[in-house]
Amino acid sequence: MVSDPKTPVTPARIWREPLIHFLVAGVILFGVYQAVVPQDQQTVRIDRNELAWMESMWLSQWRRPPTPDEFEQLVDRRIREEIYAREAQAMGLDRNDVILRRRLAQQLESLIDDEASLAEPTEAQLEIYFSEHISQYQRPASIRFRHLFFNSDLRGKDVAKADAMRALPALAVVDTVKDDPFPGPKDITAAIDALSPVFGRGFQHRLESIAADTSPGQWIGPIESAYGEHLVRIDEYVPGAPADFAGVRESVIADWRRRHIAAVADSRYADMRRKYRVIIDSTPDSPAPQSATR
């Protein structure tokens, strides 16, 4: 349409133009739309796996599945948490937060551990581990013996020893001689490393060192304990033996795995550490620790 040259262009006339009406209506609509409909929407998606995980966490804590209300609350809380987290990050709140830092560190640590724990040792690796740590899988030596006790306090230290030595030859002929009351049992059947709490470490070591070379049934001694001197008749001695691999296989696998996880974690940390230069301030009271200089 063409404006009539004879009609003056006044504000009133402009407002009556349909084009203007359309423009104003457009601006109003646009403004309303901006105000009412949020712009730049991000998506928070709670997928099937997440829902299933939430339900199983609930189940493990509460020992029953959540009710519909409880589950709805759970989901709402999760959504809220996600949104807060994103907003917080946008605001830069994630730097210097201790709990967040710790959680992130824990997460990475458990990722590394999980990855390392997937490793399956080969037979060869297990056998090597077993032979390197064979002392841990030893069946301890065990012993059955009877003893006679000569109390050092009662008789005097040197006298007790002399009395014991004097009694020894008699025992070749008789079953027993007069001895002193002992604060524990006189007939013992035990693993050799269980003798310390009854006789003291010294006696256990002394007996350990001679038991293998002593013929059963003969009286030997005197052997000193925390309480005095003893004559000992070993009736049976079963030396310690390396365990049968098949029997301890499960333990070996578990131990190997534990070692492996720790080794992988250390190695990964070492790799990560190399990328950083660490500076620790020193204070007047304490110089900076060594690790700062690397």
């Binding site: 804590q61 306090d153 009351p181 002992f182 304990s225 925390a226």
Partner: protein
Amino acid sequence: MRSRHILTGICLAAIATCAVAETRLYFGDLHLHTRYSNDAFAFFGTTRTPDDAYRYARGEPIETNDGRTVRISQPLDFLAVTDHMRYPGALQSIAEPDSPYGDTEVGKLIRSTDRADHFRAFLEVLKPARTGAPPAEGLDDKPRSLHIWRLMVESADKHYEPGKFTTFAAYEWTSEVQRLPDRPYGNMHRNVIFADTRDLPYPLSSLDTTHPEELWKYLEAQRMRGVDVLAIPHNANISDGLMFAPTDSWGAPVDEHYAARRTWNEPLVEVTQQKGTSETHPGLSPTDEFASFELYRNLFGSNIEGQLGGSYIRDAYKRGIEYQSWGFFNPFMFGLVGATDTHAGLSTVSENRLLEDVEPASQRVSRAPSSMVTSAGGLTGVWAEANRRDTLFSALRRRETFATTGPRISVRFFGGWNYTEELFVDSDWVQAAYAGGVPMGGVLEDGSPGVVPKFAVYAAKDPNGANLDRVQIIKGWVVDGASHEQIFDVALSDGRAVGADGSVPSVGNSVDPVTATWGNDIGAATLFTLWEDPYFDPRLPAFYYVRVIEIPTPRWQTYDAVASGTPLPEGVAVSIQERAFTSPIWYQTRRPR
């Protein structure tokens, strides 16, 4: 009233005659806490589980919070994990990143980096029982509580190896009561020990009741279902006189019925642990030169000392025989045990390993000044036929136990009418002792005129520890309704003798504070004797218990000071004389009414 006599008779007979003939010595701890106890988690940052506690006690290596590996120096024969049952496992569960209670008040407090907030979180646990207020959100989660209890029982069963290592399902009933409205809370705690793990109920906690009599009702109900169980009170020293009060918890005077129930439900009391020793106090035993041992007087969370009377065991034994002399039953006929009460999940008893084994930083930071002076916890010694639940529990029931303050001192104690000097000549003397009398925890009755009971004691040092200074027998008796005590030094080391004035020269002190070492050139490895009471009167009820004292050894602060190169704190002694206390042997007459 006949029924009361019958009840009395049954109880006495049951306790006195179920002794056994051949026993071995087993050491263990019946009181410790893991991460499931809210105070352990909140104050000490303890993350260890019952599993870790059992593994450590058996001798397996355990990793500490700060990455070291520690191992007990001498494995135990038995252990009972006794976590508190006020919202068990609440704080450690709420602290987990995925806890649904993360944004509650308690959740925020327990996740704070400020230790004071952790303490506040724990105060929320105490509030409901103290004020009647509803628990803070997140604390009272019944499915979680049940789950934690199940974990505790499963852990006990997993580590139970009859003949090698015994575990008990157990927990702590943590009752605290104010003697008067404006007083701080007095400790009325008991550890509840189940004989076995079949058909266990959910524990009755101090949230359900703080009255011991109601705990006993619960225990009696369990026994009627076939589940045997007993309770062991501890820390009488900070009970503000309530533990051995002359009234029940509602203020009614103690009577025969109360006495019978107490004896049957609580045959033992824990006399020593890391929060002090409750044997006696110089105020109650002014002539006992060993009465000031590891005294811990301040009531929880306050600087106010608890009342003396009713807070100590020797005093309770005396009160007990006073009741007896008036013709009533004795409500305080209990044996003694020792324990650690560790809140770090590790049963550590040696002075020189205390800081090696627990996290040094948390231990130093969290120890309040008053607890800085007490020594490491103790152990229970049990004489039983074998290391199994049924045999150990039986021994606990018949009180054939003694307490040590940590070292594995061994003590045999028997009382009989016919023992002679020849008793110790035969090296099988123990069999003869059982046959001719009663062991510790037993009862002698009705002496004939002119016949005096003889007591046989045989004490042996910890074979890897310090020598012994002396053996004492502590006697209590009643004359004209009033009780008295006397201490007899019945065996002394190094040829010492009791002077005419009753005094004994000190054994000496071989502790070198500069190196924190000591020598066994003083003291004795074994001390034994047969003793007759020179003042015995068959008409008067009496008790006799044995106290064995070691030569001085360094305290944990001395070891710590030497290891860290710092001076010993003000007012802390360099050395300690560790000791053992046996259950008493009682003498009583059946008086006609």
